[in-house]
């Protein structure tokens, strides 16, 4: 029950909702990015050897660090908005303002972090 949906994979991937779609899809991309990174990281630490050394080289690259920090920070800030609004449903009225507030936090925090990581990566 409830498992049947008449939507193909290609239609599902092209879905574009009316509101908050950007945060929705970035939350998904961030979550997937973290899940893949953490799985590979745990496996390489567990297995060790040449594979581990090769994969560590990727993580230590500053461009990869900026990407994974984007995933983590956006997922964390957007997740906090979802948590607060879902646990206090009265606040759902202010959903749009909450998304603006979220960007007002994310952009400066990520901007500073990206500047610090890239200047350390390019300078050292």
């Amino acid at each position: 029950m409830g498992l049947k949906r008449d939507v193909s994979l290609s239609v599902g991937l092209r879905y574009k909702g009316p509101s908050g779609y950007l945060t929705y899809i970035l939350h998904r991309i961030g979550g997937l990015g973290m899940a893949i990174f953490i799985s590979v990281h745990i496996l390489s630490a567990f297995l060790g050897g040449k594979t581990g050394v090769y994969l560590n080289g990727i993580y230590e690259n500053w461009a990869f660090q900026i990407f994974i920090f984007f995933c983590v920070l956006f997922h964390a800030i957007n997740g906090l908005r979802i948590t607060i609004l879902d646990l206090f449903p009265k606040l759902l009225e202010h959903q749009t303002e909450a998304i603006w507030l979220e960007w007002a936090e994310f952009i400066p925090l990520f901007g500073v972090a990206a500047y610090v990581i890239s200047s350390a990566g390019l300078g050292a």
């Binding site: 979550g31 953490i38 567990f46 906090l80 879902d86 350390a120």
Partner: protein, 144 residues
């Protein structure tokens, strides 16, 4: 919409369904991860992050307080930070994060897999993945 949700029984609020319980778990585990990461961040400041660690090291330690994440820093003595207490904290974070993440993968898979059989396979794979990731991660943390 005159009935207040607090006056409804758990069954009427859907909390006897596994999916609703996981919906709540996802939100509560997010708060738990915030607490654990903030705790790690404070510990990084206690060990002298301002002068002895760079930004990436602070983040690595905060998001997973495992001693191998601070071995390349200038912190003079990292031994106290590899205690059983910190290992258990790291394993707690691993456990909560893996459960949250694997359930997230199931939710995404459910959006794109239309057949009931495919969803069953996705669920079985997710359980295998969750158990093996927690086991491998716990071994790495405990032996580091």
């Amino acid at each position: 919409m005159t009935t207040k949700s607090r006056k409804l029984s758990l069954k009427q609020r859907g909390l006897t369904y596994f999916e609703t319980q996981m919906w709540l778990f996802t939100r509560l585990s997010a708060l738990a991860m915030y607490a654990l990461i903030l705790f790690g961040l404070i510990a990084a400041l206690v060990m002298g992050a301002r002068n002895q660690m760079d930004f990436a090291d602070v983040m690595r330690w905060a998001f997973m307080p495992n001693v191998t994440h601070i071995q390349s820093t200038n912190v003079p003595d990292v031994a106290p930070w590899s205690s059983v207490f910190w290992k258990l904290t790291a394993i707690a974070l691993l456990f909560v994060a893996t459960a949250h993440g694997v359930h997230g993968l199931v939710v995404i898979a459910d959006d794109y897999i239309a057949s009931a059989g495919g969803r069953k396979i996705a669920r079985l794979l997710s359980i295998v993945m969750m158990v093996s990731m927690i086991a491998a991660g716990a071994v790495v943390i405990w032996t580091s």
